[in-house]
């Protein structure tokens, strides 16, 4: 293509610097938001106004901001749960199932302490809360390890396995909280029993302490991938599993390990949303929504290009976007599912932008040619 004496060509990239890579991500997000304006226009809403409302509510509103932060914690944990296996070239799309398993385990701890029947009693939070967190991580790890083991040992496609586990745990949650299940609310509304006030997660200025986990793990993972032998092995396996085997890296251990680590983080995300977010403190009837939200972990992971530090701003942005999206949906009378539609548009735009990891447009001064006749 020629533009005013310059020639626009497509050239294969030799290298991709960090700056270029982040430029691609930023461009992809901007393009997706631009495309998404079409949905606002179709619904007779001015896109600029809609985005302004979204950002105002998400980041500058005293009601909206805490919700954004809670979603940010949830998304960052989900994103890290996706990133760890992704570094090893594996797809963990089972964050949903893992977070369900994690929250069920956390509720099982409370059930064991008899919380269901004596809600108003005082409980030793210093013992039970750490136990709940451990249980959440452990329950999710067990579910995730199935996918990792089958992949490592028998090369079974992890996408199918994690998806099956998502549906199994989805119905298990229903089993536990509905129709007289063990965790059903004694009031019988098809939701779980509520946390007693003494077991609410500690807050600092309205923010649950789980924020420390989310940020801490993001930095920990960065260190793990950059500085440790294990991180190196994971990356080597991700780039070339066969080559890694020749280099003495266990092709059974790495897939199992990345899924166990990823699962544990997704379990913490489950603990966070069902047991630490103010105003929730139970597994609600509409728990499927949080499972769906976890799919944003895939998108954040891809945008952050599997970099846990980059995942922090990305998760914050999408925590805000999904939260603000829900808000304008109600305020501007848009159809249900604006945040779902955004999920869809973002994902496909990202896929298209993958192309630019390998190719780039080059603008060169066109050589003098005889003008076309």
């Amino acid at each position: 293509m020629r533009i005013a004496g310059y020639k626009l060509t497509l050239a294969k990239r030799e290298t991709l610097s960090g700056l270029q890579a982040s430029m691609i991500s930023v461009l992809a997000v901007l393009t997706a938001l631009l495309l998404f304006s079409l949905i606002f226009i179709q619904a007779d809403v001015n896109p600029l106004e809609a985005y302004k409302e979204i950002f105002d509510y998400a980041f500058f509103n005293s009601y909206g901001l805490p919700l954004t932060i809670n979603r940010f914690i949830f998304l960052l944990l989900s994103t890290c749960a996706f990133i760890i296996p992704f570094r090893a070239g594996l797809w963990n799309i089972g964050m949903t199932g893992q977070l369900y398993a994690g929250s069920l385990s956390a509720f099982a701890v409370m059930y064991a302490f008899g919380v269901k029947d004596a809600k108003s009693a005082e409980y030793p939070a210093l013992i039970i809360i750490p136990l709940m967190i451990l249980a959440a991580a452990l329950g999710a790890m067990i579910i995730a390890s199935i996918a990792g083991y089958l992949r490592g040992k028998y090369n079974v496609n992890e996408i199918v396995v994690t998806m099956m586990l998502n549906f199994i745990t989805f119905w298990l949650v229903s089993f536990m909280i509905k129709d007289g299940g063990l965790f059903m609310n004694p009031g019988g509304r098809g939701e779980s029993f509520e946390l007693p006030a003494s077991l609410y997660a500690p807050l600092y200025k309205g923010v649950p302490f789980t924020l420390i986990f989310a940020l801490g793990f993001a930095f920990f993972l960065h260190w793990l991938f950059a500085k440790t032998k294990l991180g190196y092995q994971i990356r080597a396996y991700g780039e070339n599993p066969t080559g890694a085997e020749y280099a003495g890296i266990s092709t059974v251990r790495i897939p199992l390990l990345v899924f166990i680590m990823g699962g544990a983080l997704a379990g913490l995300a489950g603990y966070h949303y069902f047991a630490a977010v103010p105003g929730v403190y139970k597994i609600a009837r509409s728990y499927a929504f949080l499972g769906d939200l976890a799919f944003y972990g895939i998108i954040c992971g891809l945008i952050a290009q599997a970099n846990p530090i980059a995942a922090i701003p990305v998760a914050l942005l999408f925590g805000g976007l999904t939260n603000g999206g829900r808000f304008v949906q109600g305020k501007m009378h848009l159809g249900f599912g604006i945040d779902y539609a955004l999920l869809g548009v973002l994902m496909i735009t990202l896929v298209a932008f993958q192309f630019f990891y390998r190719y780039q447009f080059a603008l060169t001064k066109a050589e003098k040619e005889s003008p076309d006749v």
Partner: protein
């Protein structure tokens, strides 16, 4: 009991059609993990068009058309751009999940049209599915077109040298596969369960994907697997027919997914692995970029 049998066949048919679509694509070396997304799109658009026009035919055509379009999109990402096919498939799935939730929401509820008449007591789509299986098997193993498709999936560079147009063949296979997946979705929403609800497929597409892996890319085994899973699915919805009172209904709903896991696990047997390895299209999931 006959009713249960008919419903099971209906469910099996949807698995069969979608999985045959995936099988054709995979035979040509294109892995599409977005089956569920394409089915959701086919189902939602088929549902909307049928309800708006009152015509089943237009509904099915809409489902097939959007399937073809998504098959083309997947072909573009994975053949022309030579990108990661899993990334593209995941993109199509999440796009389908996200956009159909928004687009279909105003249509939540029953379709409100007369049911499609049955043929010999069975759903007409059962015969369509059966014909598709036989036709696919015939084309893939007995015709030169089938040879082209398989050669492109096994060893694209050799195929190219022997004069087969790799990109074109893969495009056609991906589009045909997409059409079948879209059609399968439309059959679900217009015949099997004509009520729209968000993300109503709940894993059908992923089970279809698993069926293809398990079938060793043989349409007959695939059909047998679909019959098993169709029956299981139906059983999980109506457990009282066979084992009344045993387990909660929610536990029954996990059964088809659990069985899928067990089936995938059983593929780890040595007997199976050798045959599976031999049947697997060698170039499955690998982009083919011509040397320049």
């Amino acid at each position: 009991m006959f009713e249960f049998f008919v419903r099971s066949l209906d469910a099996s048919t949807i698995f069969t059609i979608a999985a045959i679509g995936e099988l054709i694509g995979q035979r040509s070396g294109v892995l599409n993990v977005g089956v569920e997304g394409i089915m959701l799109f086919g189902a939602t658009l088929g549902f909307i068009v049928a309800q708006a026009t009152g015509s089943y035919l237009l509904g099915f055509l809409a489902g097939i058309a959007i399937g073809a379009l998504l098959g083309l999109l997947h072909g573009f990402f994975s053949v022309t751009l030579g990108g990661d096919q899993v990334v593209s498939g995941m993109g199509i799935w999440i796009m389908g999940f996200g956009l159909t939730t928004y687009i279909g929401n105003p249509y939540t509820g029953p379709l409100g049209m007369d049911r499609i008449p049955s043929v010999l007591g069975l759903s007409p789509f059962f015969f369509v599915g059966l014909a598709l299986v036989i036709l696919t098997k015939f084309v893939l193993s007995k015709t030169s077109l089938g040879l082209k498709i398989r050669s492109v999936g096994e060893n694209p560079s050799v195929a190219e040298v022997s004069g087969v147009k790799v990109a074109k063949t893969r495009y056609y296979s991906s589009i045909t596969g997409g059409m079948l997946m879209g059609f399968a979705g439309a059959v679900y929403a217009l015949n099997y369960n004509p009520v729209w609800n968000y993300n109503f497929l709940m894993g059908w597409g992923f089970i279809a994907l698993a069926l293809v892996f398990f079938s060793m890319w043989n349409p007959y085994i695939l059909m047998a697997g679909s019959l098993l899973f169709g029956t299981l699915w139906q059983l999980s919805l109506n457990p009282q027919l066979v084992l009344p009172g045993l387990f909660s209904r929610y536990i029954w709903r996990t059964v088809p997914f659990g069985i899928t896991l067990i089936v995938l696990f059983s593929m780890s047997m040595k007997w199976f692995r050798t045959r599976w390895g031999a049947a697997k299209p060698d170039a499955l999931g690998q982009p083919y970029l011509k040397e320049e």
